[in-house]
Point group: C2
Chain length 218, copies 2
DNA sequence: TGTACATCAGTGAACGCGCGTTCACTGATGTAC
DNA sequence: TGTACATCAGTGAACGCGCGTTCACTGATGTAC
């Protein structure tokens, strides 16, 4: 099966977990390259890592377990990415903008990963309810609400219902992320232009903070 | 292979095309039920129709041809659905609203079909460039631009860039359609509420036509 | 009206493939004595 | 310091499955004469 003629060296005692990491990395690569969960087969993973397929079983009970673990890792990374982008901002408006930029940049650079994270509908026929994925989506969305609320509280957004407007904002971000690639022959505005329009229209972001909104709570 | 013991009666001369329709219908059902293109296998189709798998070959050259044909049919039906919804409207604003309602209703009632139509990204690795699908997506989007432009021309929308705003509108519709099912435990506003917000924010739809905008072109 | 025959519509067995999973195993590494 | 042995990490052959595709075929239907 394996291309090498030499047998893989066993990991030292107590470091059997290293193979686990290699398996996850190979599965992530397969998703990244093919955009398909179905491409993550035990044999394909084994080929990449350079092991025999049954060697996976001591580390994962099934194919599905591996996919779920990868998705959870990807969500954690995506969430951290957005968090890091937000922390570099000078104003609340910039914080929201940077968070959204990071969101769209990830989707543009890793469309297949993005699609696996957000393009599946969990509760539908056939798809098992991956609780981790739902929690991950939720966490990302809550970063959006949080950032938008920060803008409202400091007068940078005139939104009167940040939760609802963050939803619309999320819809628009997701729609752009997914549809952008689906009409390659269309003359698209550039991402920053689109994002500014979305932030203005859906997030009611203002060019400068309105002092009358920046006071205490209503 | 087949569950029946009797052999399928041949279609009469000149009506061999009937089997073609049955094959397409079976493939559409498989997509509807599983939400997965991969579930459309020649053997699964053959089982549904009650024929032997090789009987498909005189009608379709390959599995991929069948999927493409189904997708083209679905796009035509979706496009017609939106067109019909628009035609029942009294005002341009209502025309846009009804078109969007039909869009979201289709996505809610047939999430798996919707996902096949809009949830794939054509130009990515592995996915062949289905020109029909791209044209279909484009046609649906152009219905949106057209309806929004109708609103602008008659003062029902204050949009200054209908093409760009129709894009944002589309993003938001698509985002809602796809994400609504992905967080089942979230307390969602109802669809009409979401749609009104999207129409107002992204489409700049007004509660009543503004006469000063309803004049001739700039 | 009867018959031979071409054509059409679909069959069933078979192929090679990749898959998940099982099983008994091998060979290196560390440890008890 | 030496040796027997347990354990760990991974192997390779085999299973049964569903798949796309090929091939020679069958049986009904219409048509030419």
């Amino acid at each position: 099966m394996r291309s090498q003629t030499t047998r893989r060296k066993n990991n030292p005692r107590g470091e059997g977990g290293r193979l686990r990491e290699e398996i996850l990395a190979a599965a992530a690569d397969l998703i990244e390259e093919t955009g398909s969960e179905e491409a993550v087969t035990l044999r394909a993973i084994a080929r990449r890592v350079g092991i025999a397929a049954p060697s996976i079983y001591p580390h994962f009970a099934s194919r599905e377990t591996i996919v779920d673990a990868v998705i959870n890792d990807e969500f954690a990374a995506f969430d951290a990415l957005i968090g890091a982008a937000r922390r570099g901002a000078a104003t609340p408006a910039d914080e929201l903008r940077r968070g959204c930029q990071a969101y769209l940049r990830f989707a543009a650079q890793h469309p297949n990963r993005y699609r696996i994270l957000f393009g599946r509908i969990g509760h539908l026929a056939g798809a098992p309810a991956n609780a981790g994925a739902r929690a991950g989506r939720r966490r990302v969305f809550e970063q959006l609400i949080d950032a938008l609320r920060g803008c409202v509280d400091t007068g940078w957004s005139s939104s009167e219902d940040p939760a609802a407007d963050a939803l619309t904002l999320w819809f628009a971000l997701h729609g752009y992320a997914m549809l952008r690639g689906s009409l390659p022959d269309f003359s698209w505005p550039d991402t920053d232009t689109v994002l500014e329009r979305i932030l203005t229209d859906c997030g009611h972001l203002l060019p400068s903070p309105r002092v009358d909104l920046a006071g205490g709570p209503t």
